[in-house]
């Protein structure tokens, strides 16, 4: 109960602080649109890529939603590092702040950001002729996939932030993890076109769980069982990485 209250107030703090950064808001809105438009144009002539979708943009939109969500998540630890550097975390820890609440506030902030960006992407997609075949349920699934994906990677990223505590190391880790996971997923290319070994790995890639759920919701508008299964896996993974980050406070507190 105390943890839930503290989480809530810490999320409010983060959201309010972000709203005071006009550059951040602009980047948050523009960047996903750039992804969608650039990738959409670049690969639009390559018909096989889109695997039965009405257009490559329709195929791509749920993928970009997920890419954006998990990239956002991998960078979430930067906010933790800034709070560590400014001793805000120490101040919380010397007060009766729940470690889980500190982590969850970062993770939920990343999730909410991802939802907002997903909404922007879907609206831009609609303007480019994308149809969400799953209707209202489809929208909910896409937003849930982006929320959970961001949280999975934000938990991981916060744990790494607590262990490494340096921006440069954090940037290196985010790139090291982010790009391979993107190419080991069906964000840009349908599963059918992947080499076998990538397809095998992609099955265990949380990014791909999200892409599968979101793409089913947009392109197919069915296959809900598989989507639910993947969302369930993402929820479990999000819980696991949040606990991992909370556990990383031990490492941090041993080192100070």
């Amino acid at each position: 109960m105390q943890t839930a209250r503290q989480t809530g107030w810490m999320v409010v703090r983060q959201a309010r602080n972000l709203m005071r950064e006009p550059i951040w808001i602009a980047m948050m809105v523009i960047q996903p649109m750039l992804w969608l438009i650039l990738y959409g144009q670049l690969f639009s002539k390559v018909t096989p890529l889109r695997a039965g979708a009405g257009s490559y943009v329709e195929f791509l939109t749920p993928g970009i939603v997920c890419m954006n969500a998990f990239f956002g998540g991998t960078w979430a630890g930067m906010a933790m590092i800034s709070d560590l550097d400014r001793h805000v975390v120490d101040r919380f820890l010397a007060a009766p702040a729940s470690r889980l609440a500190i982590v969850l506030s970062q993770v939920i902030r990343a999730g909410i950001t991802a939802i907002l960006q997903a909404l922007i992407l879907l609206v831009v997609g609609l303007a480019l002729g994308v149809r969400v075949h799953g209707g209202f349920a489809g929208w909910v699934v896409v937003l849930a996939a982006s929320f959970l994906l961001a949280m999975v990677f934000a938990g991981f990223s916060n744990g790494i932030a607590l262990v490494l505590r340096r921006e440069a190391s954090m940037i290196a880790t985010a790139n090291f993890v982010g790009l391979p996971l993107m190419f080991l997923s069906s964000i840009l290319v349908s599963v059918a076109l992947m080499p076998g070994w990538i397809r095998a790995i992609a099955r265990f890639n949380p990014v791909n769980w999200g892409v599968d759920a979101a793409r089913n919701a947009v392109v197919v508008g069915g296959n809900w069982g598989s989507a639910m299964g993947h969302l369930g896996l993402l929820l479990a993974a999000a819980a696991a990485t949040a606990l991992f980050a909370t556990w990383c406070f031990r490492s941090y507190q041993r080192s100070i």
Binding site: Q2, R5, Q6, W9, M10, R13, R16, N17, R20, E21, D83, R86, H87, V88, D90, R91, F92, L93, A94, A95, P96, A97, Q253, R254, S255, I256
Partner: protein
């Protein structure tokens, strides 16, 4: 009852023995200073006492609770003001205070009233609704103190409260801490590497050096404990031979703790008026022209030198934490 008790605290970070058996006790309601050079172990001691990190061995009690066994209970009774400020820059002063109060389980109008009271206490009413990013160093520090006080703690930790402040802001902070000690019923533990700060603010000090408390007591007692006076001789032209001058002074009967820097030989003698002629004639016949001589009552600097064998100003110990 003692508000803080540290017993033989030890902590090691890889190659650095940060705490090597720190023991001291702080009485309820007093302002206690941990004085020592950078890296002596002051901040590590504070981090152990505020439950931020655990000692490898040893015990500590704050407000009657064991910091290792019951950290959550300790956290409810302490306020902690970190060395480099814990202010959230993007939030306003008021928002910083409200969040800290909520972390302590406060809410509603009692919290808002407490925040207003504290903003007034530290003189930040006008800046209360501006983001802290725009605050001066002194304002941030005052906000830090207000944040540490929001839940009405019984023990307040101030880690290097004036480091990084300009002289004017430092003087203002000293007044602030004195007022705090007088107006709030608080035990205050402050760390500092400024001798004069400890001298002015602390009722009692523990001098920390290389992870140990070398002596503990009231500043005036510590100084009075060193009988005699300190004599500082400034030499005219030393030409790199300052150690030779020190040797000459060391051979004089009655002098102790001879130390040198570029142009000065400093020593402690039982009686300055009697010792100075002997010192001057010895230096003169050794070929060292004397430019000036001053005597002074022992300072905390001399206390530090006496108990550690090293000069305070020359110390900046390895592995600052």
């Amino acid at each position: 009852m003692d508000a803080i008790v540290a017993e033989d605290l030890r902590k090691r970070y890889r190659a650095v023995q940060a705490l090597d058996g720190v023991s001291f006790a702080v009485r309820e309601g007093e302002v206690f200073g941990l004085l020592g050079p950078n890296g002596a172990g002051k901040s590590t001691t504070v981090r152990v006492l505020t439950t931020l990190t655990r000692p490898d061995s040893g015990r500590a009690f704050v407000a009657g609770e064991d910091v290792v066994a019951h950290p959550a209970r300790v956290r409810r009774s302490i306020g902690y003001v970190a060395q480099d400020s814990g202010v959230d820059w993007e939030a306003t002063g008021r928002e910083n205070l409200l969040l800290q109060g909520r972390i302590h389980g406060m809410s509603g109008s009692p919290l808002r009233a407490r925040v207003d009271e504290l903003l007034g206490f530290v003189g930040l009413e006008e800046a209360a609704d501006r983001p802290a990013r725009g605050y001066s160093g002194g304002m941030k520090r005052r906000l830090d103190i207000a944040i540490g006080l929001v839940h009405g703690p019984s023990v307040l930790f101030l880690d290097e409260p004036t480091t990084g402040l300009d002289p004017e802001a430092r003087a203002a902070m000293w007044v602030e801490v004195e007022r705090l000690a007088k107006e709030q019923s608080l035990t205050i533990l402050l760390t500092t590497h400024y001798l004069e700060e400890a001298d002015r603010l602390a009722e009692r000090v523990a001098i920390v050096s290389r992870g140990r408390v070398v002596v503990e007591g009231r500043p005036d007692e510590l100084k009075a404990g060193l009988r005699g006076e300190s004599v500082t001789v400034e030499l005219g032209d030393v030409d790199g031979q300052i150690e030779g001058a020190a040797e000459i002074v060391r051979r004089i009967e009655g002098v102790s703790e001879v130390v040198v820097d570029e142009q000065h030989v400093r020593t402690r003698v039982p009686n300055g008026a009697q010792a100075i002629p002997a010192i001057l004639s010895a230096l003169d016949s050794g070929g060292f022209p004397v430019a000036s001589v001053t005597t002074a009552r022992p300072s905390l600097d001399d206390v530090y030198l006496h108990y550690t064998g090293r000069e305070f100003s020359s110390e900046d110990e390895e592995g600052a934490h």
